[in-house]
Amino acid sequence: MASGVKPRVKVPKSAEAGEVVTIKTLISHKMESGQRKDKDGNVIPRSIINRFTCDFNGQNVIDVDLFPAISTNPYFEFEATIPEAGDMKFTWYDDDGSVYEESKSITVG
């Protein structure tokens, strides 16, 4: 597991049923592109998060494939429809097989 990985998400605590809300996510990750070299001229191997998904009550909101051209500390902003109260689940998949998860509940009313 890459060190110091910390997911942060910004989700409203409550919403009207059917409301479209804006979600912001950030995860601290160095996103080593595999293009850089260390001071001895050796290529630093690629180590990135290659997939990010967001689901609400098991239904998919967005599924993103990431490539090395995504900046350090990948940030995403997108919109989700909230049909009912429930949990929003965020998942990041690392190149090394690690999975980082974060969950936020949203109430309706």
Partner: protein, 138 residues
Amino acid sequence: MEFTRRDTLAMGLGAAVLSMVPFRASAAVDAAVEAFTGGAEMATTGIELTAPEIAENGNTVPIAVNAPGATAIMVVAAGNPTPGVATFKFGPLSGSQSASTRIRLAGTQDVVAIAKMADGSFARAASTVKVTIGGCGG
């Protein structure tokens, strides 16, 4: 200014390398686009790509894509060592077919976004970004 035989050879070689590099890059982009669209025709309307005209730091360039009615949007950067940037797939609960993120750009280049619409058609948008400091390190 006089050119020696050695200078002339070096210049010819330099020109050959220069002309080959963009060709290789665009071939990789074409392959990526082909894999996504299957060679289908692309409309020029229906997708919006927001990117800065000038990015001081190529390490974090904010971009946003918006394509109402799309099921997926692919973003490629033609001038990067690997052209792929990200592919967004929108699920049933997505509030709008838009997203924004931050990307790396190796130098001044075109950023291209291609949307796959729900009816199977494709739309393309491109934007040129001038990069002052490249973002691929080295």
